[in-house]
Symmetry: C2
Subunit: 186 residues, 2 copies
DNA sequence: AATCTAATTCGATAATTGTCGAATTAGATA
DNA sequence: TATCTAATTCGACAATTATCGAATTAGATT
């Protein structure tokens, strides 16, 4: 899954490993040859090749004394092509909790009894708090202005501001002038 | 040049940076929001974004208080597509000295006076030494067997073996049976 | 102008990882 | 079977880098 993608990039995120891939793009080489070409010790080259093999970029074939490595071109092409789709990147972020920011902001403004210390002045934080407040309303149900104020008073004494912002940010709507309020479906 | 490619992979070779790219693939985020989502400190996120910006993967736009980052999709697509060509990989290896292996092997077998300690028994090393020996012959010029032996005796007393291997590996040729020898153009 | 906020920079630290040498293994040659 | 060679593995060390906290900067709001 996502680990696979990170490992793929990590495998190529080293100058000597990139050189190995570049050399193998021309022809196959043994560990000893690569070590001489890159001026590295065989053990180091072996280590690099292991990382490349782990993500399927190279494969080894024993040939008499030598272990000849070659580039797995299909793996390289397939993996590289998949990255164009952007879907893989999004899947990497799939595990991220997209509500974490809201929760953090709300936690900063909420008292233990659920009321708000203040109404945030900054737009992004206000939005987060409003998304939290609006959950006190039942979706689809209609509320009179008195009922709305009753519920909002549990959050802050300035119910008029809360009401205005909820409507302003499109989280609640009111019918015509002076009619009932209802929560907008997200 | 090649540094650019390594840096590109390094930029993506971190799990948190991949998540950032994945999130930005959906919409733009501020540093603060990303920090909350990834449960990292803003300074750390700033560091990651700097690395991504360095390779042109993201760009920032100041918006009121916030610094909103967005994904540079064209850069991502272009760079990713270039990797399909395999040409970039070969260019990475362009700086590598492809004769280094030969020189290393020859150095192991050569005495200070230019003669060979032994004739290598292993194929790959024999090839390297023969490529060195054949350079004592002038391209295009024809040599009698006596002349050939004279030159080869500077390398090793077993001139017959050297002669046979040079022909066997296609580095020298002889005309018909018992005719002259000449060095094959590489 | 004064104040506030998010972002960045810097220094320090912890974790990761590239490199090597020594010891071991696997496989072919004699 | 015994020996030889290339490759791998392992432990140690050095270099890189991800992370954080503190201090500073850049901009906007009052």
């Amino acid at each position: 899954m996502s680990e696979e993608l990170v490992d793929f990039y990590k495998a190529l995120a080293d100058s000597n490993r990139l050189k190995i891939v570049g050399l193998l793009a021309n022809r196959a080489y043994s560990v000893e040859e690569l070590a001489a070409l890159l001026e590295l010790k065989p053990s180091t080259v072996s280590h690099h090749l292991a990382k490349l093999a782990q993500v399927g970029l190279v494969s080894a074939k024993t040939e008499s004394y030598y272990n000849v490595y070659r580039l797995e071109e299909k793996a390289l092409e397939e993996k590289t092509r998949r990255l164009l789709s952007r879907e893989d990147f999004q899947s990497v972020a799939a595990g991220v909790d997209v509500d974490a920011y809201d929760r953090k902001v709300v936690a900063d403004y909420r008292r233990r009894d659920g009321s708000l210390k203040t109404i945030p002045a900054q737009r992004k934080k206000l939005e987060a708090v409003l998304r939290h407040v609006v959950e006190a309303f039942e979706p689809g149900k209609r509320y009179s202005e008195k009922q709305v104020n009753k519920i909002l008073s549990g959050f802050h004494e300035d119910t008029a501001s809360l009401r205005r912002e909820l409507v302003g940010y499109g989280l609640m709507k009111r019918e015509g002038g002076g009619g009932d309020y209802w929560r907008v479906e997200s």
